[in-house]
Amino acid sequence: MTSSSRTFSQHTSLSSPNAPAVSAHNLTKRFGDLNVLKGVSLAVPEGSVTSIIGASGSGKSTLLRCMNLLERPDQGELAIADEAIRFTRNPQGDITGLDRGQLQRLRAKVAMVFQQFNLWPHLTVLGNVIEAPMRVKNRSRKEAVALGEHYLERVGMADRRDAYPAFLSGGQQQRVAIARALAMEPRILLFDEPTSALDPERVNEVLGVIRGLADEGRTMLMVTHEMHFAREVSDQLVYLDKGYIAAEGSPDEVFDDPCCQRFVAPAA
């Protein structure tokens, strides 16, 4: 369970009919002299939940951000929501392998929930939720509002649709951010430590929403420090250590893996 080669053999065919929703092969990413991802391969099957755990600075956020190209990998292959991209460098050293249309299409199918919520403070709750469906997916205002109200209802924030984010608690803001992601009707949901910026008493209301989404069978890739939660909701766990996948598999396998014992021991 500890080598990434096994995982790769499972998803060499990047575009077969029942390909995984996310399939990354040998992604590398460096910031200057710092090698943050050193060849990471990962597959998230359609309708399943994968959690990424690991110490701070191990590259979890960077890996997640590669999935919607907020970071552009230096090398490797990424197949995500039917968009296959092979990152290479041209002779000038620029990263190639991605055209603008593809970037737009990919981002419309992959929605992200951020640690710091990143709601738009000058838009109302509903305004935040309908913005991208209207501008990116060209939904009419009426459609977008219907969609937005539906998902605000889903996260229990429908009664605050006209409020501005600054007047909400952290937990409420994060639930709105989840509704904003859902309103894109994405193929894949990405979560980057969705509860790390919350007051402890607000964590559960957000975890509850995420658990509900997992139960619905949504495809999710999540970075989290909530070990109990990760163990409960995940179909697959990935333990990232200094830019490598040090262990992966079912939650029980990973929690029992000696190389991540030290990391998860206090919580397990």
Binding site: L119, P121, H122, R160, F167, M184
Partner: protein, 241 residues
């Protein structure tokens, strides 16, 4: 104190003209200046190298020289140069170019553009990058992120500074009396010259300025508190549960 001249319809007409011109100049300079300011900020942050450099030089020159000197520069210098442009006299722009109002407006638009441009640039840099990143993550184009998220958010952040600039602008406008534009100060000057009363006309226009400032401040304050995101604005904004 002798205010008997106030009943003279000629002086009333001067004062009214002066008041109207002052407000017009304020409005034109404020709107034009803020538009230019957005342009200056964008050019400095996102423009191609030469444009960014030009915008930076423009800000430095305008902010580093006295407003009165700029006014004279435009009115006497540029105005005189324009007279020499062949064919210009026959065009529709010509009457505009003879009007001191035109040069006053150009001067103030440049001034507001430079000062507010720096304010807006600073505000754009202080918008939390995560908010813009969220826009990109959801697939908004660079232009959409700029127009829908970055600029409105920056303006929200610096709105009190921008409205403060407008109050300062109002009080710079009497400078145009030096280029024979009939503003409030020019009206007071004429009344002084004809009645030999120094303080009374000045007192009157000072009062008008003060009243205008109070009204302007209150109006801009309304704009500030009604700017999207600045107050709850919800029919049911109190926590329901």
């Amino acid at each position: 104190m002798d205010f008997s001249w106030l009943s003279d319809p000629f002086y009333q007409e001067y004062l009214w003209q002066g008041f109207v011109n002052t407000l017009w100049l304020l409005l034109v300079s404020a709107v034009g200046g803020q538009l230019l300011a957005v342009g200056v900020a964008l050019a400095r942050l996102r423009g191609p190298r030469p444009l960014a450099w030009f915008a930076a030089a423009f800000s430095s020159v305008i902010r580093g020289t006295p407003l009165l000197v700029q006014l004279f520069f435009f009115y006497y210098g540029v105005g005189h140069l324009l007279e020499g442009v062949p064919g210009l006299r026959e065009t529709w722009i010509w009457p505009l170019m003879r009007d001191p109002f035109f040069f006053g407006a150009v001067t103030f638009i440049c001034s507001v553009g430079a000062y507010s441009g720096e304010v807006i640039r600073g505000a754009m840099l202080s918008v939390p990058p995560g908010e813009l990143e969220a826009g990109r993550a959801f697939g908004l184009s660079g232009r959409q992120v700029l127009v829908r998220l970055w600029l409105p958010r920056a303006i929200q952040l610096c709105l009190p500074t921008l409205t403060g600039e407008m109050i300062l602008l109002l009080k710079s406008i009497p400078l145009v009396s030096t280029i024979a534009l009939m503003d409030l100060l020019q009206a007071a000057n004429i009344i002084r010259d004809e009645t030999f009363l120094v303080y009374e006309p000045l007192l009157l226009i000072a009062g008008i300025y003060l009243a205008t400032t109070v009204v302007l401040t209150a109006t801009l304050r309304l704009v500030e508190i009604n700017f999207p995101g600045m107050r709850p604005r919800s029919r049911r904004w109190l926590p329901v549960r």
